[in-house]
Amino acid sequence: MANQSVVASDTLLKRNPVQRFLITFKKNWQLHLMIVLPLVYMLLFHYWPMYGLQIAFRDYSSADGITGSPWVGLAFFEKFFANNNWSRYVWNTFRISMYSLAASFPVPVILALTLHVNENKALKKIAQNVSYIPHFISTVVMVSILKQVLSPMTGFYGVLCKWLEVSPIDLFGTAEAFDHLYVWSGVWQNMGWNAIIYISALSAVSPDLHEAARIDGASRWKRVLYVDIPAILPTICIMLIMRMGHVLSVGYEKIYLMQNDLNLQVSEVISTFVFREGLSKSNFSFGAAVGLMNSVINTCMVFLVNWITNKLSDGEAGLF
């Protein structure tokens, strides 16, 4: 009976789309009102630039504007691939990003497990709080600390070398050192903070599981392997998907600060190239074209990784 009346009102609404719209609008207008400003923000600052991406296929000049500039087709993409160094920029991006992933992904997991296993509360608390501190250091300060501490003349590194009686080298001027400096300073800065999500996942593990395993004679190490790690595996997967999707987008903010003429060979990545060539030299269309390529690859990566994860986990672990 109740079901019938629902069906009846539904068919009535279907007959009057205007009326239906009015009814739902009346019910939701306050929520609509709330979301207007955030929506305007998204349209202005995210979707308008997406519309502006067409300048990648036009020869943009500020006089003609986005839609008034002449079409040039793929000319700027060809210009990028005509550059002898394009493969190096892609390789730098990929290499730094993969190295960064390989180094910075496992460390927080290990750290969280270590904190979970250890039962000394005071030590845990100190370790956790100390490990958060670097996360709040800004990129500018982080790079300055690196430069100061690793200075061959006045820094801690110089002191250490003097103490060990080896001659210090200028690490910031050495191309080989760039990757390691970039990656490990990142690990140093974020390992504690990135461990939080695993720590909270670990603390959500039911004590019953540990109890049962203990009764079955499992040592602490076995319980790490068969209780703790399976418990945080979904979290690990989600974090990995999110990271993998950005494998071709290295944060330009830190790299840009660490770049100098001596390491540019290995440190120029796609995003800093876009900034340097596109923005600083006002080659807007060229920069937009390179940036568009990068964005498209990134998006494809996200979908690909997500698809693979869904396949492997029967639709359980994927992001969407």
């Binding site: 998204m42 250890n118 030590l123 600390i145 939080i196 964005s295």
Partner: protein
């Protein structure tokens, strides 16, 4: 007898477990050293004399204690301008961000909100595909006329979609009966949001305020792009960058007297406000970090 009984009640740690405890303790001590030592070194150097720094005598504690570095910083006009601007950007930036994120997260948290799914897609899509630096710059600088104004920095990343989704998840965890009760009492959506929903997600909101404040305070790249023509608007991080990143010959007189000291002091002074803020909101933080599922 009693002693023996006590002993049997205690869980006996096997040898393997004790080894594991030892290893984890060592790892944690190593962690404290690796993270803590550079921090201590930088702070100690900022209180040491220029000669001591240059002759590398600072190991752990300040050597030849002096406040000279801090005096240089506080006598430096750009520092005060930068500090003022950073405070402004942080306070206004956080307010704008929180306002927009709450206004987006609350309607989207309603499961029966008509059109909510579509609007959610509009937000979520931007996490998958970004227009990139150049088109954003053109729209903001040319079409919106924000070049060289504070708006370029304030609206640089006013909505973090991931943060908004965290907040939406928090709103969804509120029992629906509360909203029903508010509706029966005649509260409109705005009243419900302010008086019922927001107090219940205080922990999440303070976590997001922390994220946003740290982001605003530490931001330099947008300021560098949009405000390079206007020194009076530059935030502290940009002042720092110009001072710290420039070759040692910014000011020859400073090289002799204590450029190193000044740099260390600047590093400390610019980082302390964020850390203080973190320790203030920390008590809310533990509850708020239910980043849990980001599933759309």
């Amino acid at each position: 007898m009693l002693l023996a009984k006590k002993k049997t009640n205690k869980i006996i740690e096997s040898k393997g477990d004790r080894v594991l405890t030892l290893i984890t303790t060592l790892i944690l001590l190593l962690l404290i050293f690796i993270v803590g030592y550079p921090v201590v070194y930088v702070v100690s150097s900022s209180f040491s004399s220029a000669v001591a720094i240059r002759s590398a005598r600072v190991i752990l504690f300040p050597v030849e204690f002096t406040l000279q570095g801090y005096r240089f910083v506080f006598d430096y006009d750009s520092f005060w301008i930068g500090l003022r601007n950073s405070a402004f950007y942080t306070v206004c930036g956080v307010s704008i961000t929180m306002f927009l994120e709450i206004m987006a997260a609350y309607p989207l948290s309603k499961r029966n909100y008509q059109g909510g799914k579509g609007i959610m897609m509009i937000f979520f899509f931007t996490t998958l595909f970004a227009a990139g630096m150049i088109p954003t710059f053109i729209v903001k600088a040319v079409y919106l006329g924000m070049y060289g104004t504070v708006w370029a920095v304030l609206f640089a990343s006013a909505i973090g979609v991931t943060d908004m989704i965290i907040l939406r998840t928090a709103f969804r965890s509120i029992p629906g009966e509360l909203f029903d009760a508010a509706a029966i009492d005649g509260a409109n959506e705005f009243q419900t949001l302010v008086q019922i929903a927001l107090p219940l997600v205080k922990a999440t909101v303070s976590t997001l305020i922390l994220y946003s404040a740290v982001g605003c305070w530490n931001e330099y790249f947008n300021a560098m792009i949009y405000l390079s023509n206007n020194e009076t608007l530059q935030p502290l991080q940009l002042v720092l960058r110009n001072l710290l990143m420039a070759a040692d010959v910014v000011d020859p007189s400073l090289v002799d007297t204590g450029m190193e000291q000044m740099r260390y002091a600047l590093i400390v002074v610019s980082t302390v406000p964020v850390l203080v803020f973190y320790f203030v909101v920390q008590k809310y933080f533990k509850k708020g970090v239910m980043i849990g599922s980001v599933k759309g």
